[in-house]
């Protein structure tokens, strides 16, 4: 009898067996139809060093001022899932990106003198029962030396489940981007691509982008 069956058959180790089941869930071959994990990439140097007062999911309007930020308005949504395709509820999705002038919400950013004060630069959303998240932001633009991208982190409590970046499908700068090229597997690179399409019925030329994030979960200790 193999180790798996031996351990699960022992009544006294049922709890351990459940934990083992959780561990074996990540063993390739044992469970088919696993979704590929969204690959991690570097956090980069510009995670906000001072979080804004306004940390909601609308990056366009800062503290109720009515002047919107400069850029192509985009509704970015998706789901956070585990590899079995199950939604992760109550996890926090954070995004941050440079504004339309190429400045981040960070004291060390380039283009600091041109920072768009009506762009929040950072947003946060807690997923609902279906694992879904939603942000209103701008389509990312190039930052010196980088192709357009949006940084994201998914956290469960204090634990980071993934840190990565999403990119604009087909952008000409992608081929030269060092971070993206550092993702060696072309399938992994594909998993970081996001389409920015015109939002149906929008009279304002807004865009819609859908990006599902698949995370691997380490097992709970018994």
């Amino acid at each position: 009898m193999d180790l798996h069956s031996r351990l699960l058959s022992r009544r006294g180790f049922l709890r351990g067996g459940l934990a083992l089941g959780g561990v074996l869930y990540t063993v390739p071959g044992l469970f088919a139809d696993q979704l590929a994990k969204t690959p991690p990439t570097t956090e980069g140097p510009f995670y906000p060093d001072k979080l804004p007062l306004d940390t909601d999911n609308d990056l366009l309007i800062l503290n109720d001022t009515l002047t919107p930020a400069i850029g192509e308005v985009t509704y970015l949504s998706g789901r956070v899932l585990d590899q079995g395709g199950n939604p992760l509820r109550n996890v926090v999705v954070e995004i941050w990106q440079c504004d339309g002038n190429g400045a981040y919400l960070h004291s060390g950013t380039g283009n600091a003198n041109r920072r768009d004060k009506n762009f929040q630069g950072y947003g946060r959303f807690t997923t609902g029962v279906k694992g879904e998240y939603l942000f209103r932001t701008i389509k990312p633009v190039p930052y010196p030396g980088r192709t357009p991208h949006i940084h994201f982190i998914v956290k469960k409590g204090d634990r980071k489940l993934i840190t990565s970046q999403l990119f604009v499908t087909g952008h000409p700068e992608n081929a030269g981007d060092g971070v993206l090229r550092g993702v060696r597997d072309p399938i992994d690179r594909e998993l970081l691509m996001c389409d920015f399409k015109p939002l149906k019925d929008s009279k304002l030329g807004e865009l819609a982008a859908t990006f599902d994030i698949v995370v691997g979960l380490t097992p709970e200790r018994p």
Binding site: L3, F13, E173, G176, V179, R184, I187, D188
Partner: protein
């Protein structure tokens, strides 16, 4: 001899399995994410549920990979054969991990294209980014490198594709704290160079340059 406690044996066993599972990559992905054509093909052919040696569109249950499927489907018959996968893989695998074609700042070849594991370059001295993203001197130890004009292989300190035709971009002028006098002289120099460059290039080349410039961080479109 004392009987070795069973729970201890199993705890060690569980621990070992937990460790082993951490070391295992997701299904079909070779350890370390090494990109090669075989691995790419194998990873996608894992979706071939009916094992007929090709992929039908509805077999690709991970929606995020449908774009890749469409790229692979060269003859647009909604089926992807192994040959079509190999052809796509050969193209796409080649894009990963190599120094970007448009990355200056590589005085001695650079090799890693100015971007190391963390995406931002361990060795700022070669003109890449420093480990923390920008380091003290965003342009590496030797500033602009040999060519202070900003052109040339190492003129941009690893900032990715050079903004062709621009002597000193505005964000750099600010960083360098150029005086008004300097800026005026630079402007005159820029005009002179623009004129000469325009005479030098053909219509087609000028068009290409314009497209590159817009992709490399021009002002956002309204």
């Amino acid at each position: 001899m004392q009987r070795f406690p069973r729970f201890l044996v199993l705890a060690v066993g569980l621990g070992l399995i937990a460790l082993a599972s951490l070391g295992l990559a997701q299904p079909g992905q070779p350890k370390g994410g090494t990109a090669n054509v075989d691995a790419f093909v194998a990873r996608l052919m894992a979706f071939d549920k009916n094992a007929d040696g090709k992929l039908a569109k509805d077999e690709v249950t991970d929606e995020r990979l449908l774009r890749l499927f469409e790229r692979a489907d060269a003859n647009k018959d909604n089926t992807v054969t192994k040959e079509e996968l190999v052809a796509l893989a050969t193209q796409e695998v080649a894009l990963g991990g190599q120094p970007g074609g448009g990355q200056p700042g590589q005085k001695d070849g650079g090799g890693k294209g100015g971007f190391q594991k963390d995406g931002f370059g361990k060795d700022g001295g070669k003109g890449g980014f420093q480990k923390d993203g920008f380091g003290k001197d965003a342009f590496g130890k030797d500033g602009f490198g040999k060519d202070k004009g900003g052109f040339g292989k190492d003129g941009f300190g690893g900032f990715g594709r050079p903004q062709v035709g621009v002597l000193v971009p505005t964000f750099l002028q600010d960083r360098l704290k150029m005086t008004d006098g300097q800026k005026k002289e630079l402007e005159a120099l820029q005009k002179e160079i623009d004129g000469k460059l325009e005479k030098l290039l053909t219509e087609e080349q000028r068009k290409q340059l314009k497209e590159m410039k817009e992709g490399a961080g021009g002002p956002p479109r309204p």
